[in-house]
């Protein structure tokens, strides 16, 4: 896809993520929206995956370690043909196959069950190491949250990946500056992610997480690097692409009142018109 097509794909992902969340009127809006452009680049351009090859061990793998962003992944999987649109509107309802946090046994296209923070990144390093020793050339991508990096287990996984020189492991840090209770700098200051990952033995890149061009370029660069795993620090905004949510102090999980519902639905509508589905 060229960058115009990826931007359009990102708008589609954002549109269906919002529609899916709006349907129930509550959910993890903030952290779902901040990874939309990254998902668009991954699924639009980079990941060698398809519904037909979802069980092929030579495919690329993707682990959404920040599992609460599941709704954005589900919208993406719908657009890629893994699930049908009607599934989206079952999110979090009784008996659904789309729980808040991804479940690989329920949703086709989900490579690893995540939601207990810190575990997805470890599993991703296991997948990447397994692929490496099996002699596969595929890549394992993982998105970890900036708040999630509070978890000690993340740093175990990071040490493991560096020691094992997993150069086909690409880790995105969704640096949207906020965690559930507020700003990351106020709760437990992460300081400088790039310096930390470099010190831990990673190639470290940075990208504007709202720019599909920069994200794509960073991944291309990551794939040219060898001997070390790659961290791409994404400068993002929690609630990205929906001004009403971006402006909220607390936007990790929203339960919409009438005003919020009207504002968010207006943005959803606007995006729908842009992408030609409304």
């Amino acid at each position: 896809m060229d960058s115009t097509a990826i931007k359009n794909f990102a708008a589609q992902i954002r549109y269906y993520t919002l529609k899916e969340l709006n349907y129930m009127g509550y959910g993890h809006y903030g952290g779902s929206l901040s990874i939309v452009e990254t998902l668009a680049v991954l699924y639009g351009n980079q990941l060698q995956v398809s519904p037909e090859t979802k069980d092929d061990l030579n495919r690329d793998f993707f682990v959404l370690s920040k599992g609460h962003a599941g709704p954005a992944l589900y919208a993406t999987l719908f657009l890629k043909g893994y699930i049908s649109e009607d599934w989206l509107y079952t999110l979090n309802q009784n008996g659904t196959n789309l729980p808040s946090h991804p479940d690989k046994n329920k949703t086709p296209g989900v490579d690893m069950t995540t939601g207990s923070l810190g575990q997805g990144i470890s599993a991703a390093t296991g997948i990447a190491y397994g692929n490496k020793i099996a002699g596969r050339e595929n890549y394992t991508y993982c998105i970890v949250g900036d708040g999630e990096l509070n978890e000690g287990q993340c740093w175990e996984a990071i040490q493991f990946a560096a020691h094992r020189q997993l150069d086909h492991f690409v880790l995105f840090i969704d640096d949207n500056k906020k965690q559930l209770d507020g700003y990351t700098t106020e709760i437990c200051n992460p300081f400088d992610f790039e310096a930390k990952f470099a010190a831990f033995g990673f190639h470290t890149l940075k990208a504007d997480g709202s720019s599909v061009e920069e994200i794509n370029e960073a991944i291309e660069r990551a794939k040219s690097l060898t001997d070390k795993p790659i961290a791409i620090v994404l400068d993002t905004v929690k609630g990205q692409g929906v001004p009403f949510i971006e402006d909220m102090y607390s936007n990790h999980h929203l339960r919409l009142d009438d005003a919020a519902k009207a504002a968010i639905e207006a943005t959803t509508e606007k995006i729908g018109i842009e992408i030609g589905v409304r």
Partner: protein
């Protein structure tokens, strides 16, 4: 027939090491993970031969479990080891989510069961693994009584997808079984009696057999069962135990959640039976030799015998219909 308690020739860690090597030679999907305790377990001796399939993650038990889950997703069959407390209570959420809930295939070996942690003391002495693991849906939970039993358990884990947890001691166990013994489905009926049953696991199986001999001297005939698969428990084995109308369970483990609980919970629904649980009660681990610690916690032949006699008296007094 009386039971002669003699130490087996083969260390249990040697059984584990040989099992891994044997399987890894035939099956490329076998991977072995350690968390900086490979020399304690002696798996360091197979490091060279296994090459990339031997993974010492360092002192990172959470990573060890979740990474193993990832290896399963990538098509591998991981066997992971650390000491029991770290293999269970330290990583309970990783086992629960990355392995059981995610439906990955991982076998976890928790060594140094209960009092056999000896000089490592309270921090390293696990009395809770079975309680924790039994609470996980569809887990397969085992405790090995000797080297032949461990071999049978390991073969079963190789055939069994999902979460397997094996509780074992590292060194030589008292020999329970002869070479070439075959094992039934999750249990072994070692003695058949009519007055009382002793259901035991791990190192307490040897004590159960000695207790049965003592009881025989007192004219009490005892059934003895090695319940080496604690979950899923074989109900037929427990109904067999219930036939005597009185059961003593014996475990090197907390009485809450281990085999005493497994027996009580199962029979409470199928056939309520008088029971006493020999095991650790409201106590933490401590340093000491295993024999000393067994005395401290009442994990002894004498205690099993005394409790069995009490139950037989009780059964006769209340006239339990068996």
């Amino acid at each position: 027939m009386t039971f002669e308690a003699k130490i087996g020739k083969t260390e249990l860690r040697e059984v584990y090491r040989k099992f891994l090597l044997d399987k890894a030679r035939k099956d490329d999907s076998i991977v072995v993970l350690e968390a900086d305790l490979s020399s304690s377990m002696s798996t360091d001796k197979i490091k060279e031969e296994l090459g990339d399939r031997y993974i010492n993650v360092g002192i990172m038990e959470a990573q060890e479990v979740s990474c193993a889950a990832g290896l399963s997703v990538a098509g591998f069959k991981p066997y992971i080891h650390t000491f029991g407390p770290f293999a269970s209570r330290r990583v309970f959420d990783q086992i629960f989510i990355s392995v059981a809930y995610a439906g990955t295939n991982v076998t976890i070996i928790g060594s140094d069961a209960g009092v056999t942690a000896e000089a490592n003391g309270g921090t390293h002495m696990p009395f809770e693994e079975l309680s924790l693991l039994r609470a996980i849906p569809d887990a397969h939970v085992y405790e090995a009584s000797d080297d032949k039993c461990l071999q049978a358990i390991l073969e079963e884990t190789y055939r069994t997808d999902g979460l397997n947890y094996v509780r074992m001691i590292r060194k030589n166990a008292i020999e329970i079984y002869p070479e070439g013994e075959t094992f039934e489905d999750g249990y072994k009926l070692l003695r058949e009696g009519s007055d009382v049953s002793i259901v035991a696991s791990g190192i307490m199986v040897a004590d159960a057999l000695q207790a049965a001999d003592r009881l025989a001297e007192a004219g009490i005939s005892a059934t003895v069962i090695d319940l080496y698969r604690v979950k899923p428990v074989n109900e037929a084995a427990l109904l067999k135990a219930a036939e005597t109308g009185a059961i003593v369970t014996a475990e090197n483990h907390n009485v809450i959640g281990g085999i005493g609980s497994a027996v009580a919970e199962t029979l409470a629904e199928l056939k309520p039976t008088l029971q006493y649980r020999v095991g650790v009660r409201e106590a933490f681990g401590q340093v000491g030799k295993a024999d000393y610690l067994k005395e401290q916690y009442g994990l002894t032949v004498e205690n099993i015998v005394a409790q069995a006699k009490k139950l037989v008296d009780q059964k006769n007094k209340v006239g339990v219909n068996v």
